[in-house]
């Protein structure tokens, strides 16, 4: 496919500098890790050759099992075996659907729910980190070295708290998270590159626990998300749940023990999968009470009990089309993603809605991980410029703040291309008011109580003024991961407050550091070695980046400026050879500071070149 040509030299690393980068699909049901090897994206299997890792973690006494080993124990140790943890990421207890059917000992913690296990109380972030650790180790073993970075995928419809939780889990697992990438966007990359597609495409992504619908415009090396919508509490799990409830009713069962509940849930899932290829499926189980369940369900009944779920997915589909200002006739193809799209009733409903057969030519279980690997390869700088692509994604849900009367004032509307920043001015409503509390929310509803609360913070020290005289400017900045930071500033006095929208669920940087420390508590040496390795990698990355920047654009600097940067660079290089990780960090910080102005000038020069290119092109 034709790609944007970028001419300036210096960015592309020499071939020998290939950085090890992976894409990780952290799924509700299964997780995968993939990488690009010799130009081809491939899923990395485990030692037994299995590509999927069931997203299941079992906390035994002093022993943690992840994947198939945990899966094998889920029915006999349901309380300590966490399945579908993705449903709890960044969520409070009241946000979690079907709590009554989850056999866990929940702890209602501020912001995010926690689970009491045989190895202590665990947050969903920690549970997810266990899954990511296994995938990291798998990749490092298979690629033969430490990873330079990873792209982790998230449902496009994930809100800020869920995204932040995912990034924290990555960090906790010792990964350098290059980017959080939306799952349907990852699928579109894999599909678009494979088929050299151009035009408007819809990605229908029904995972284990989440549903996303993204509409993308693919053209000339650009993947542009036009609109995205979804339901972060709807997935294949809900179809299992319907079957489970049907079975309980049909067999007239009394309330079940956690163990029997899990057993019947597993049987229900198996029946669902069986029905994809057969007209009828058995559900049989011997319960701990001695009761034997022996049921049969046919396709028609299954379609009947899940019809409302199928229809529910079409609501976001219509909404995304409206947001994009498009009709089904504009859509050139519908890419199906996620194991749950294998269900024939889903295929049929999507086909009827879009009036065309859905595209199923990529494995719906692997396509997200493959796309993430391709993007990781680009972000790591392994692709020469001119062969890479541009990805333009959006935020899925509007961001706003609470105003008088519990109403929401939207500051950044949904489907805004990221990175984005927007500021809004507010004022005081009482004479002499010296403080203002800022409540940041996310969602589409007008009432604060109907939106998701992300953070609260106080702006203090506003000089006393008449009501309405203060000018408080609240700025929202959303970065390329879709993560929000907020600053508030009073105009007349310059009083400022800022917040990383993180503390809402009570897991700050300090907590993560502590957890990391805990996991190394029996291995101090290990911890030092690891910190040193990390700082060396980071320092080396900076040295390379600065060198290539100097090679390309030294002309933007005066001789004195260039000498100053070169000296700081030499200092960092010298320290990288040593063993003091703190000194390396200090030298890296110094180099970052020394190159600030240079970076700004380079960016400006890039834009000028773009404009100059345009003018020549127009002649």
């Amino acid at each position: 496919m034709a790609l944007l040509q970028i001419s300036e030299p210096g960015h592309a690393p020499a071939p020998h500098q290939h950085r090890l980068a992976v894409g990780i699909d952290l799924g509700t049901t299964n997780s995968l890790v993939a990488t690009v090897r010799s130009g081809v994206a491939t899923v990395l299997p485990d030692a037994q050759g299995r590509p999927l890792l069931p997203s299941i973690v079992r906390y035994g006494l002093g022993k943690i099992e992840v994947g198939y080993a945990a899966q094998a124990r889920q029915s006999d140790d349901p309380k300590n075996t966490i399945v579908s943890v993705k449903r709890f990421m960044g969520r409070g207890l009241k946000d979690v659907a079907h709590v009554e059917n989850a056999p866990y000992d929940f702890v209602d913690a501020p912001g995010m729910v926690q689970i009491r296990t045989a190895s202590g109380v665990k947050t969903p972030v920690e549970v997810s980190a266990e899954i990511l650790k296994v995938l990291r180790e798998r990749a490092e073993l298979s690629l033969g070295g430490p990873l330079s970075g990873a792209v982790i995928t998230v449902p496009a419809y994930f809100d800020d708290a869920q995204r932040q939780a995912t990034k924290d889990a990555g960090q906790l697992a010792g990964l350098n998270v290059l980017r959080l990438l939306n799952e349907p966007t990852a699928a579109a990359i894999a599909y678009g590159l494979e088929n050299a597609s151009e035009g408007i495409y819809a990605v229908y992504d029904l995972g284990g626990g989440t549903f996303d619908l993204s509409i993308l415009k693919l053209s000339k090396g650009v993947f542009e998300v036009v609109a995205t919508s979804g339901d972060s509490m709807l997935g294949g799990d809900d179809f299992d749940q319907r079957l489970f409830c049907w079975a309980v009713e049909e067999a007239k069962l009394p309330p079940l023990s956690p163990r029997d509940m899990r057993l019947l849930q597993v049987r229900s899932r198996e029946a669902k999968e069986y029905l994809t290829f057969h007209g009828e499926a058995p559900i049989t189980a011997r319960l701990s009470t001695g009761d034997v369940i022996d049921l049969k369900i046919d396709t028609e009944t299954f379609c009947g009990i899940t019809q409302t779920l199928v229809q529910k997915t079409l609501v976001p589909v219509r909404k995304a089309l409206r947001d994009a200002g498009l009709t089904v006739e504009d859509v050139k193809g519908v890419v199906m993603v996620g194991g749950a799209t294998r269900m024939p009733q889903i295929q049929r409903a999507v086909g009827e809605f879009f009036k065309r057969d859905p595209l199923n030519n990529l494995d719906p279980d692997k396509v997200v991980a493959l796309g993430a690997a391709m993007q990781a390869n680009v972000l790591a700088g392994n692709k020469p410029q001119g062969e890479d692509w541009l990805l333009l994604d959006v935020i899925p849900l509007s961001l706003g703040i609470e105003t008088m009367g519990g109403l929401v004032e939207k500051i950044i509307p949904r489907n805004t291309t990221i990175p984005a920043a927007r500021a809004q001015e507010f004022t005081t409503f009482k004479d002499g008011q010296t403080g203002m509390s800022v409540h940041v929310v996310q969602g589409e509803r007008e009432l604060v109580s109907d939106c998701r609360s992300l953070a609260r913070f106080e702006l203090k020290g506003i000089p006393p003024m008449a009501a309405g005289a203060a000018r408080i400017r609240v700025t929202f900045q959303v970065d390329a991961d879709g993560l929000l930071s907020v600053t508030a500033k009073e105009g007349t006095s310059g009083v400022e407050a800022s917040v990383n929208v993180k503390p809402s669920y009570g897991l700050g940087d300090a907590d993560i550091e502590r957890m990391l420390r805990d996991s190394f508590e029996h291995a101090r040496e290990d911890m030092h070695a690891r910190a040193l390795a990390e700082q060396r990698v980071e320092g080396q990355r900076l040295v390379e980046a600065t060198r290539s920047a100097l090679a390309a654009d030294k002309s933007l600097l005066s001789d004195d400026e260039a000498t100053a940067i070169e000296q700081t660079l030499a200092e960092l290089e010298k320290l990288i050879g040593g063993t003091d990780h703190r000194a390396i960090k200090r030298a890296a910080d110094a180099l970052n500071k020394a190159t600030e102005e240079f970076a700004a000038r380079r960016m400006d020069a890039g834009v000028r070149r773009a404009l100059a290119g345009k003018k020549i092109g127009n002649l």
Partner: protein
């Protein structure tokens, strides 16, 4: 190149200058899109994921700026507002609500029609309303183009931009109505 010159482009240039476009209401959308993508392909954070903090920060700032400029120029209401501001005319959405009575009456009737469609859960009525609205918006946009680009009647254009904003809000309400009807 001096740092001063670089700063000038960053902070004070209009959205049109940023994309190398003439400051007119009638817009060459293909040229805008091409310029936007060309600049993004150079400044986007994905290009700097392995760079130093300073470059990553600069990239974030630039991309944010470019996205905002692109969003403004693509949107017919915001483009009009920005262009009039460049000519020293404040469209004043918030404070200036004085509109011709006839126009306001028409708006009231349209909202009543919308409420009726919601009550009856009548998606076809919404489709019809939307179709009318689209052509009405196109007409006003043509008028704005003429007022600004040809007649240089900025005060007159400001009223037209306010009208267009009213219609855009109605458009948003129709979107919400579809959700209520479905």
């Amino acid at each position: 190149m001096s740092a001063g010159a670089a700063k000038a482009l960053t902070s004070s240039s209009s959205h049109f200058e940023l994309f190398g476009l003439p400051p007119s209401y009638v817009l060459d959308k293909d040229r805008l899109e091409a310029a936007y993508r060309d600049i993004q392909s150079r400044v986007h954070p994905d290009r700097f994921a392995h760079a130093g903090d300073a470059e990553r920060r600069a990239s974030l700032q630039w991309t944010t700026r470019v996205n905002e400029a692109y969003r403004t120029l693509k949107d017919p209401v915001q483009r009009g507002k920005h262009l009039l501001e460049l000519h020293g005319v404040d469209v004043a959405f918030e404070t200036n609500t004085q509109m011709p009575t006839e126009f306001l009456m028409q708006q009231l009737e349209l909202r009543e029609e919308l409420d009726a469609a919601i009550q009856k859960k009548d998606a076809a009525a919404l489709d019809a309303m939307r179709a009318r609205l689209v052509s009405q918006k196109e007409m006003i946009q043509e008028e704005i183009g003429e007022s600004i680009d040809a007649k240089k009647d900025y005060a007159g254009a400001a009223e037209l931009v306010r009208k267009l904003m009213f219609l855009s809000k109605l458009d948003d309400e129709i979107d919400l109505a579809y959700e209520a009807v479905e």
